[in-house]
């Protein structure tokens, strides 16, 4: 009997550690959306990699910048160019964050949890602190994450001096994130 109980305790401990360990997501979607009276511009990226660590609340994303797809080829070239995102010099953007209210999430119970993510976002080689809201969904033991927030391009030294981009791209763009771990 003692053996059985010990085995059970061991099994529970193992399963708890597994769920607390770092989990990887390669099924991700990052979207930029910019709206001005002139036009709406959207770019999508499905190639990012992310991790989440339930035990610590750590969230990391690595975003390959050249994977952003635009409807118009010219916009995509502008986006990548030295004047804007300089993706040859800075091929990846990075988010290193933490769930600030980790107590609000029960990773072992199905549900939708609202979280605050604080951390550092690096785009175009410029790192800025961020604090954004996100949603963690637990369903049958699987974790997914979603968030929508605004980015001010000037914060990341993405500046448009004159010409068409300065009138057709919003100063603040909406970023949508979803990830299945």
């Amino acid at each position: 009997m003692k053996k059985v109980i010990l085995t059970m305790i061991a099994l529970v401990t193992i399963s708890l550690t597994v769920s607390a360990q770092k989990q990887v997501s390669t099924k991700t979607h990052f979207k930029f959306f910019s709206t001005t009276p002139a036009e709406n511009i959207e770019a999508n990226n499905y190639a990012s990699v992310g991790t989440i660590t339930p035990a610590s609340g750590d969230i990391v994303f690595s975003v390959p910048m050249q994977s952003f797809e635009f409807e118009k080829a010219l916009m995509q070239e502008h986006f990548n160019s030295k004047k804007f995102l300089n993706t040859k010099a800075n091929p990846k953007a990075k988010l290193i964050g933490k769930i600030a209210n980790l107590d609000a999430v029960n990773f072992t119970k199905d549900g939708t949890y609202n979280v605050d993510v604080t951390g550092d976002l690096t785009i175009n080689g410029v790192t800025k602190p961020i604090k954004e809201k996100a949603t963690v969904v637990i369903k049958e033991g699987k974790i997914s994450l979603a968030s929508k927030f605004n980015l001010t391009l000037a914060d990341y030294e993405i500046a448009f001096k004159g010409g068409k981009p300065s009138t057709n791209i919003a100063k603040t763009v909406e970023v949508t994130v979803e990830a299945n771990y």
Binding site: K27, V49, T51, V60, S67, E77, T87, K88
Partner: protein, 155 residues
Amino acid sequence: MSTKKKILLTLTIGVLIVAGIALYMFNKPARDVQATETDFSYRASAIVNEYLTDAKAANAKYLDEEGNSKVLEITGIVSDISEDFNNQKVILLKNATDKAGVSATFTVETNAHTNNVKLGDEITIKGVIRSGAAFDSDLEMYENVIIDKCDIVSK
């Protein structure tokens, strides 16, 4: 024709040509990667090792400032088949002993060409490189080379 008329006609034609070029530039279609000549052909292990040895040099060699980066043909062993949020097939070419592999994303048009691909098969894909392999100390894992707009190359 008077000189005035001639000037006016020349100007009008000039303006129309410039406007036409501008419109074409603005609406030019995305590069057709499959129709573009292949720049380099490698085994998956070779490009992974090139990146892990010197990522900076590899980025300089393969990435383009405007995102029209090198078109590569990569041969390797299929170690994973999945689908992204855009319903595009993603095939990972990776040697069991390598630290990282080559992640190849197909398109809605080329997805069907992967239907007969099985784990363990050796295949060759062609696509455009988006980013290289590296150990990421924040993710605490190796990231794969990312190739986009892929199709299968039949040998």
